[in-house]
């Protein structure tokens, strides 16, 4: 989507979040030089185009009890990786699944699946189950739990603006 100058002013106004006041779109409009109806119309268009994925909560997983965040990585033969990736997405506890390049020799894995859960032991058991269900247990794989998080703010819409 090609952003208009008005869209950019609106996204600038929105960058810190939606104002926590009764008429937030009117406040955004004041900042962006648009009226309230124009703000909601443009936001609807930006959401339809996927520039704004959604409005609402940006939750920190850890703070709502999902303390075990496991990046599960596998070395899947190239001709099977798409099929395996598609299948893994059907598991309810897989929240993200990507194919990425291997970086040999340090990194032989090409399929990444994020699994979130409340407790580490339960997440590990669930990953074992998933691998077994999909006949992947014999493939080289690793589970990388996060131990610390330093930054989680999501993407800025215009990285060079700050």
């Amino acid at each position: 989507m090609e952003l208009t100058p008005a869209d950019r002013r609106l996204l600038d106004a929105l960058e810190g979040g939606l104002p926590l006041v009764s008429r937030p779109y009117a406040v955004l409009g004041e900042r962006a030089g648009l009226d309230e109806a124009e703000v909601t119309r443009r936001l609807a268009a930006l959401q339809a185009a996927g520039v704004v994925k959604r409005l609402g909560l940006v939750v920190r997983h850890h703070e709502i009890g999902y303390r075990a965040n496991a990046m599960t990585v596998m070395d899947v033969p190239d001709d099977q990786v798409d099929a395996v990736g598609e299948r893994l997405t059907r598991a309810a506890d897989v929240t993200l699944c990507y194919r990425r390049p291997r970086r040999l020799p340090d990194w032989p894995y090409n399929l990444f699946a994020m699994v979130h859960g409340r407790e580490r032991e339960a997440v590990l058991a669930r990953i074992d189950e998933l691998l077994a269900e999909h006949g992947l247990a014999d493939l080289p794989h690793a589970v990388l739990f996060s131990t610390r998080r330093f930054k989680q703010r999501g993407a800025r819409y215009r990285a060079e603006a700050a």
Partner: protein, 147 residues
Amino acid sequence: MDATDRRIVAGLQGGFPLCPRPYAEAARALGLDEDELIRRLARLVETGVLSRFGPLFNVEAMGGTYILAAMAVPEDAFDRVTELVNAHVEVAHNYEREHLLNMWFVVAAETPERAEAVLAEIAAETGIEVLSMPKLEEYFVGLRLQP
């Protein structure tokens, strides 16, 4: 977080109304009044349960790009390297993970060239190789967490 907060977090993950008084409308669906919803959201942001209330941007829809990158950082340099990496505004999040490659972060930038340039800057500043792992295929993106 009490039961009402959990209801708010579960109820608002899917989106937010685009009408003149969206908090009032969202509050109605949650059985709250407008003031209470606004007050509770402000507190959830203040206490860090929410990193933000508002938009989730997708830079890819504007021609931008995300790149996942990994580094093997020596334990005694970890704090220093963390500071150098996080100082880049393009770094959207950064996790320490249990592996020889122990620092994993995502760079979000307007163009793939800019994202690669940030990775090169980080490698130069830290003296540590940065492995770039852009996504080649995405099989699913979703959020189905129930607080």
